[in-house]
Symmetry: C2
Subunit: 208 residues, 2 copies
């Protein structure tokens, strides 16, 4: 199931819609209108309709969207119907926090593999996961893991990325501050905490 040409921005909003649907109070009604959904998520209602219309006729005019059906549909689009296992590379401060992070469950994503360079950490067991050395990344393809989370120092990021790509990883969530060069069929999503924070002072009133 692959769709024509959907804006990345739309894809990015789908998980937000999903979360909105989960939190929608089940007050008897089976359906929700684009306006209601828009209000919850603080976007405009035409935006919601347009986003959803990329994937065929999901709603029914005069009524709205069937909540359960819509939820299932979005999960199907995002390929979140079956659990995805993800590998975490780097068990430093951030890595440890991510492993304990509970916000992935809603989206059926579960970190079940951890790699680390530091020999002192290798072998330790956290949350039933044994920390492995980075050279074991090559075994990911055999384990059917195609998503990786990169939380290591910038200097090693390209090196590890190459290993991940070779192991068949198709999606990388990059917390590193460096640009990752990957083949076209691999998707990288960057989260640069430093840059985001550095933008804030610009918006402060002058002299603050």
């Amino acid at each position: 199931m692959r769709y024509h040409k959907v804006p990345d921005e739309t894809i990015r909003r789908l998980p937000v819609y999903l979360r909105g649907l989960c939190s929608f109070p089940n007050n008897g009604s089976h359906s929700i209108s684009s306006q209601q959904l828009a209000d919850i998520l603080h976007v405009k209602s035409p935006q919601v309709r347009k986003d959803l219309s990329y994937f065929g006729d999901i709603g029914t005019p005069g009524v709205g969207y069937d909540i359960q059906k819509l939820t299932k549909h979005i999960r199907a689009i995002l390929q979140l119907n079956n659990v995805h296992c993800a590998a975490l590379v780097g068990y430093g401060n951030l890595g440890a926090a991510l492993l304990k992070y509970t916000g992935f469950g809603t989206f059926c994503i579960e970190i079940n593999t951890v790699f680390e360079k530091d020999p002192r950490k290798i072998g330790r067991v956290v949350r039933n996961i044994k920390i492995e050395e980075v050279s074991k990344i090559s075994s990911l393809s055999k384990r059917g893991i195609s998503i990786a989370i990169l939380a290591i120092p910038a200097a090693e990021s390209q090196d590890v990325t190459d290993k991940l790509v070779n192991a068949g990883v198709g999606g990388i969530l990059n917390f590193t501050s460096s640009y990752l060069s990957v083949p076209a069929n691999v998707k990288v999503i960057n989260i640069d905490i430093g840059v985001s924070l550095a933008c804030l002072p610009y918006y402060l009133p002058v002299g603050a």
Copy 2:
């Protein structure tokens, strides 16, 4: 120093430029061309020129941009010339990781205040910072802190945000999954780790 109308996207790239300049090998030359800068950061060279041109004539035709001068200039634009203190709200997994995070130093931002709800953590000292209770947020204005990092459960986010805004905070880095409602003069930057991760499966080859 406030400039006409600069795209948010441009502002977001400035810290990246800054980092690129820092890592540029000091090989005798004092200047760098838009092309060189573009190559390092994997953007197009007209993009670099346009971004920088919003802030007046910084470069010299035929030569390029004086590295030191440009660095200073970007820091001035972003208001990063003097150190900014930031308050961290929430000392959970993520909060603890952020406090230890070293990536903020490049941008002259330093977390020097920590608030937490859990009474067992209040009073503890980490990195010379004493963890305070959330009710002390109101004292931020007196301390001249106008940037906050929000790393708490979604349920309490709006509550704490209101407290922050009342205390004169003008910029919030929001790791919470919820939308924050703030007055127009307060800037919120959202980092939603769950959503970013949830997007990845969409891009995987079907059936992976």
